[in-house]
């Protein structure tokens, strides 16, 4: 990186691997602006940002697990369980807002510990992630339903909403929390030893272990951090819909994979791209919001989401950015 100051900005963008998601976002925005000239009006941006915040957080959570070569089916179940227990504490037990927030986040951490220990016990690589989180997703969801009997909690403390609903520069505060979380994750992966260890382990678990990186630590810490981010996403989602819904995270699984994949993070591990993941989340948000704006029948949503994921991964395979470079 010594000669980075000599590079042009464009080549820096290419190096960072965010060119493909950037192009996707630009195309989507252009299309929306042509179809709806006032698409980026302040009110719509406000709506976009609220949805984006949650999608990006969910994507970050998945990206951390993808970095170590794993995947996490239980992102939504963790987010929902944290929100339900925090919401239930406020509604039923009258716990003050701040304590409820701490409780919710601790629940997320506990879920992460359960995931991490079980995944390590099942081998810590490859299919262990899928199998264990498939089971724990069912477990967490079952605990959630047993507590709530499927009914939402409405008695959320208004102070709790203020944590994320207050505005800053005309945008909800939760958006800035999301940016902060993204920044911290970026910092972890690029500057901290543990982040480096995650990536090394993700790239080649056996080599990383021979090099003295503890598999136990990597799997456990990554699971905890990912669950923590999912729990924060659950808190923000609760602030957004002003209730604690038991079925809250049911549509998070697809989004959680889509955002980092569009953003150039590989499922094989060893590589992350925080900015790309954020751009991926922006693309997904524009698509879902655009479908509403263009009055597309809601029945099309599932089909379109699936197609977008497949296409975006295929685009990545053809290496859009690489093709542009070669043409020049």
């Amino acid at each position: 990186m010594k000669n980075s100051n000599q590079r042009t900005m464009i080549s820096q963008v290419k190096e960072s691997g965010i060119l493909s998601p950037l192009i996707i976002v630009a195309i989507l925005l252009t299309v929306m602006l042509i179809l709806k000239p006032n698409y980026l009006a302040a009110t719509n941006v406000f709506v976009l940002v609220k949805v984006l915040t949650i999608t990006a957080m969910v994507g970050f959570s998945q990206m951390i697990i993808m970095a170590i070569g794993g995947l996490n089916i239980s992102v939504g179940a963790i987010g929902a369980l944290s929100a339900i227990i925090a919401g239930g504490a406020m509604d039923r037990l009258g716990v003050p807002a701040f304590s409820a927030l701490i409780i919710g986040i601790l629940v997320g951490v506990a879920c992460g510990v359960v995931n991490g220990l079980l995944i390590y016990r099942a081998g810590g690589v490859g299919p262990a992630f899928f199998l264990i989180t498939l089971a724990t997703a069912s477990l967490f969801q079952g605990i959630n339903l047993t507590i709530t009997s499927g009914n939402p909690y409405y008695g959320i403390d208004s102070k709790f909403m203020a944590y994320g609903d207050t505005q800053l520069f005309g945008l909800p505060l939760s958006f800035f929390y999301m940016l902060l979380v993204g920044l911290l994750i970026w910092f972890m992966f690029s500057k901290l030893a543990i982040g480096r260890q995650f990536l090394a382990f993700g790239a080649n678990p056996k080599a990383a272990e021979l090099y003295g990186i503890s598999k136990f630590r990597v799997v456990l810490y990554a699971s905890i951090i990912a669950a923590l981010v999912a729990a924060i996403a659950g808190m923000i989602a609760m602030i957004r819909i002003k209730t604690a819904q038991p079925n809250m995270g049911s549509d998070w699984m697809l989004l959680s994979f889509a955002a980092p994949l569009i953003g150039g993070t590989k499922l094989n591990g060893g590589k992350v791209n925080v900015a790309g993941c954020l751009l991926g989340a922006i693309a997904l948000t524009i698509i879902s919001n655009g479908l509403v704006h263009l009055a597309v029948d809601v029945f099309w949503n599932t089909l379109i989401y699936g197609t977008v994921i497949l296409l975006s991964v295929m685009v990545d395979q053809f290496n859009l950015a690489g093709m542009l470079r070669r043409k020049r």
Partner: protein
Amino acid sequence: MQLAKKAFRHELTSVILPLVILFLALIVSSPGFLSAYNITSQLQSITIYMIIGLAQMTALSLGHLNLAIGSIGSLTSILMGYSMQEMGVPVLPALLIGLVVATICGFFQGLLITRSRISPFIISLALLSIYKGIGVVISRGVPFDGLPDAIKLFNRAKAGVVPVTFFVALATAIMVYIIFRYSKTGLRVEATGANPRAALYSGIQVKSTVVIGHSLSGLLCGIAAIIQTARFGSAQISVGDDWMLTSFVVAVLGGTLLSGGKASTVGAVLGSVLMVLINNALILWNVNTYMFPAILGIVLLSAYEVDRGRLNLIKRQSELEIDNEK
């Protein structure tokens, strides 16, 4: 002791033992368990679980997953309903259409996995939405409930207490057993799952084997979809809603190796019986239905644990034998 250890090493022990214990516990605790009504209704559940368990087992033996199992079932049901109700296709051709659609869904999944370098997990995840999405768009969320009576009759037909659909499931299981035990295709699928590179070097057409395996998995989803549609008495999008998790539980309980390379048809059949008995026990013992997912999660986790215990024992035993020979 020696015998006990030998029995524990056998792969089916981990499913037969809980099966027998649970069966006896149910007989003792719930007089309603052996009633004709309960037996028929449990056999109907086993039918579906067995077939989707086999579908997942086929994908697992390739070393892949089939997350789209439920969506293939959903799309198949919708297309059958559409062709019967909106296009007036007679029952048998409509069922054939369903089977063909399901096979094509699996075929397409296999094709994408082999022709692109995208991870099979992501392809399956995307197809999960795409297949379901097509079904939703066609049906607009409304069930096709004007199906011919023959469909409902198929569900109600019984031989004694045994529903006819159960025989269909058994026939399907026997077909799958023969494929994996006696045909070259089954051997190729298992070899590919165990080690794709070694399979390639020993002259197996790995790519077409993967496509065939996924097509078979799709076909099985189609059979399950037909039976579920008959059970509902209408073709609807909710066919296949809880199949994904269930199919994994059945295959895992049955001892199919999750890393690929081994299919246990008998295990999957017994796994489906165990799964249904667990469900039945929860209902007969008046367990809160909201707790079911949590219990299912714990069952799955304990199945992994048993699997691991057995593998460790086998490993230790073989090490001991090697030491003895020295």
